[in-house]
């Protein structure tokens, strides 16, 4: 199965990808984030290897997990090497959240999931990742070691993409197409949920910040006065506290 050139949206976003990867600090952050995501994905697939009753799948999942863990290590090492090459840029650099994007398995639920769903999900995720990594490989032309990492990972992704599809057709010969479409729809739904949750988070944080500055000042004044009255050191513990079994206070 050939590697797709990436989703249309990724191709449209190529200037954005180029902008992200063109900056040293953002490149480091991306690589380190990828390191974590690949490692997490590897552990999820390892879990699948431990759960599946199918011996062949267990071996394949295990090899897949080993690959993902190795990819995580490669990304981390490269990110760390770039960081060491320009350490001054690291100051205050990791204070915020990492940039969104990258490749990962997005809260993959392993326990209780049948193999056909896992394989379909892995296939769709690997295919998307392979397309995106192909774009990344092109936009890091100026950085041969990073490009080499993407090339190596791309080769592995092709294997992962192929084995997941082949095994899906083996264990679910009549419904494999439906499983793949279902995985695509689930992935899309999770993306939507992710965006909606992030948006809700921003709205919630904005409202709480407004409340903080509008409603809290008098309470803050009282709390600070209370703090001034507290002497550091030992505080006695009230005897009745230990008998209060029902109270959350």
């Amino acid at each position: 199965m050939p590697v797709l050139p990436g989703a249309p949206v990724d191709w449209m976003l190529r200037p954005v990808h180029r902008w992200i990867w063109g900056d040293h600090d953002r490149r480091v952050r991306k690589l380190l984030t990828f390191g974590e995501v690949e490692t997490d994905g590897g552990r999820d697939i390892l879990r699948a290897a431990e759960m599946t009753p199918d011996p062949l799948l267990r071996r394949l999942y295990l090899e897949h997990a080993i690959d993902e863990l190795r990819h995580g290590d490669m990304f981390r090492r490269r990110g760390a090497a770039l960081l060491q090459a320009r350490p001054a840029a690291a100051a205050g650099f990791f204070g915020g959240s990492p940039l969104p994007g990258g490749h990962g398995l997005e809260d993959l639920a392993i326990d209780g999931e049948p193999d056909r769903r896992l394989l379909a999900f892995l296939h769709v995720a690997e295919k998307a990742a392979a397309g995106r990594f192909k774009i990344y490989r092109e936009v890091v032309d100026d950085d041969p070691p990073t490009r080499a990492i993407f090339e190596e990972i791309l080769r592995d992704e092709v294997f992962h993409m192929n084995y997941t599809y082949t095994q899906l057709t083996r264990i679910s010969p009549r419904s494999y197409r439906w499983q793949v479409w279902r995985a695509r729809a689930t992935r899309l739904w999770k993306r939507y949920l992710g965006v909606a949750t992030a948006l809700a988070g921003v709205i919630g944080a904005t409202i709480l910040t407004i409340m903080y500055f509008v409603l809290l000042p008098p309470f803050a004044w009282l709390a600070k006065r209370g703090a001034d009255r507290e002497a550091p050191g030992w505080n006695p513990i009230a005897g009745n506290r230990r008998d209060s079994s029902k109270s959350q206070y």
């Binding site: 552990r43 910040t209 903080y212 500055f213 709390a223 006695p236 079994s245």
Partner: protein
């Protein structure tokens, strides 16, 4: 009476079941979910505990949560208010975090388990620590010390406990008399240095302890500017050096950085040959010394106040084995008891025991003195999987297996060892271990490189039979008790250091486990067999996991770890699997 204890929502959640006053089982959620330090609601752990005992939730008499969640929320809110307006960034995060799930514990437990809300009880966080330390220890009367980052408000408490076994009612008393309150916290002081040194908070504290041995305490004066002793014998932190009470992003302030220099980034290696590497080691040594001095002072005072000979020590700070050894040596207490799970996971067991003894006033019961409360390994599962993969599988009788493993170890091979129920707590105490010969530095480097993938400065621990521990290690009186659950760091006798190079830390010490035969008879037999071959019944014993993963639980988890790292042989029960080169070959695209 059937009581389920739960700890959750901060780090390392767990569940424990106590029936008629005796623990039946306990397990950390991470061992089942396979997510290290899993802090989520421990549904898998609860289900396993109930299944193990053959109970339905309706059979439970009480479900006890290990802390008072609203009181904790009060502390979070009050801290944000006190830091106004500097806390504006952390406030939305803190409120969302708390209101999202953490304060609705009663409802969450009721909805997950379907138990009536009246059956859901709460204990103080530090009372749970105290109960976990005192009620699991084989002592009738003891002073109690608990210390961690923070519970509700308390960060450190002192008190005493007594089992009234001579009285007809057999009641138990746990009295915590005094506490130090947030933001003044020994645990948070140490965690701040953990973050400053580039390690993960609540995970990398033991790395700071390991690094400390490479440094000199040249910055004690600076650390003492962060923490001053109060006239009543407690301590107070200087808030201007910390930010954990105002922000979620960073625990130390710019003034802290002015005092100690630039922090280490998590991805920078620690090179102890450089000035920068030595500065970090000196920082670690300095905060370690201040922590030890403070704990020794507090425990000396506690010994004077109580006049008791035993101390039970709980809370995450009790994982600091170097400090524990100094407490034993200098405080005046003759015995120091640290449970196998002194951290928050252990609070699940502590909360259940506390409710049994203190709320329901049930008579005291003797508690088995071992840490093996988790799921049992299934050797058949391992044999089946390994055979399907074409590995070499042997089922041996007990004596032959022990001899064979001893021979493998003596031949320089590394063995994954799974036996019976898993340990409750972070230490490999005989049932989920990676074992190796302890004699050469090469073995230490091989383990670090091929299996554990961890920093060079971190030491490996030894295990040896209780009967021979004094021959190789300098244990003070009472040291064997501390070494039962690997809770103390003691000197390796100088004449043995070269022959035990893989487990001797740079300062000549080791976090030894003194293994009693009754606690783990098979490992004890293996140590004796290895001793007959090598002349030294000592093995290197490290937790059965690789970096970033929880300790293995089921046989298949041990097997998948064995398959992808440098472990040469794997044992579960009497099943032995050895690595087969052909079976371990990588799969190619041809398979697909």
């Amino acid at each position: 009476m059937k009581i389920l204890g739960i700890s959750a929502h901060y780090h390392d959640s767990a569940a424990a079941l106590v029936i008629d006053g005796v623990p039946v089982c306990a397990v950390q959620e991470e061992r089942l979910s396979r997510r290290k330090n899993d802090a989520g609601f421990p549904l898998a752990a609860i289900e396993w505990c109930l299944d193990h005992a053959g109970l339905e939730p309706a059979d439970l008499d009480a479900v006890v949560f290990y802390e008072r969640s609203m009181l904790k929320f009060e502390r979070i809110l009050t801290s944000a208010l006190r830091a106004f307006p500097r806390s504006w960034k952390s406030f939305p995060h803190a409120i969302k975090n708390s209101l999202g799930e953490k304060v609705w514990v009663r409802g969450i437990i009721a909805s997950h388990l379907g138990v009536p809300r009246r059956k859901i009880l709460f204990t103080d966080h530090h009372a749970s620590h105290a109960a976990a330390a005192f009620l699991t220890a084989p002592t009738r009367r003891a002073a109690i010390l608990t210390a961690d980052g923070v519970g509700e408000w308390a960060t450190l408490t002192v008190g005493h406990g007594e089992r009234h076994t001579h009285r007809r009612d057999g009641l138990t008393d746990i009295t915590l008399q005094r506490e130090v309150r947030f933001p003044h916290s020994l645990g948070l002081l140490y965690s701040t240095f953990t973050a400053y040194l580039g390690f993960a908070v609540n995970e990398g504290e033991y790395k700071v302890m390991g690094l400390a041995a490479y440094g000199r305490p040249t910055m004690v004066a600076q650390v003492r500017r962060l923490i001053r002793r109060t006239p009543d014998g407690a301590f107070a932190l200087a808030p201007e050096y910390f930010e954990y009470q105002t922000t979620a992003g960073r625990s130390y302030s710019s003034r802290f950085v002015d005092l100690f220099g630039p922090p280490r980034h998590a991805y920078d290696p620690i090179d102890l040959e450089t000035d920068e590497g030595r500065r970090f080691a000196d920082c670690a040594a300095s905060v370690q010394q201040v922590l030890e001095d403070t704990l020794v002072d507090i425990t000396c005072a506690l010994h004077r106040d109580t006049g008791l000979s035993d101390l039970c020590f709980g809370g995450g700070v009790a994982l600091n084995g170097v400090a524990n050894a100094r407490i034993l040596a200098e405080s005046g207490f003759e015995r120091v008891f640290v449970p196998s799970a002194p951290g928050d996971a252990g609070c699940a067991l502590g909360a259940a025991l506390y409710a049994d003894r203190m709320y329901f006033k049930n008579p005291d019961r003797e508690i088995p003195d071992h840490p093996f409360w988790g799921p049992t390994v299934n050797a058949g599962e391992l044999a089946k999987a390994a055979r399907e993969d074409g590995q070499t599988v042997e089922d041996l009788d007990e004596t032959a297996l022990i001899d064979r493993i001893a021979a493998e170890l003596a031949g320089g091979r590394i063995v994954g060892w799974m036996d019976g129920a898993s340990e409750f707590g972070p230490r490999p105490l005989g049932h989920r271990c990676i074992l190796a010969a302890p004699h050469s530095r090469e073995m230490r480097d091989r383990l670090n490189r091929d299996i554990k993938d961890r920093e060079e400065f971190r030491p490996f621990a030894p295990v040896t039979p209780l009967e021979t521990v004094d021959r190789y290690f300098e244990l003070p009186p009472g040291g064997a008790r501390l070494a039962r659950f690997m809770s103390g760091v003691f000197p390796v006798r100088p004449e043995w250091r070269e022959k035990l190079a893989a487990i001797t830390h740079v300062d000549g010490t080791a976090r030894v486990q003194a293994l009693e035969r009754q606690m783990a008879p098979r490992l004890h037999a293996l140590l004796e067999s290895y001793g007959r071959r090598s002349g030294m019944p000592v093995l290197l014993n490290t937790s059965f996991n690789v970096a970033g993963e929880p300790i293995v639980n089921r046989a298949l988890e041990g097997y998948s770890t064995f398959r992808r790292c440098g472990i040469d042989a794997l044992v579960a029960g009497t099943t032995l699997v050895t690595k087969h080169a052909a079976a371990a070959r990588p799969l190619t695209e041809g398979v697909a």
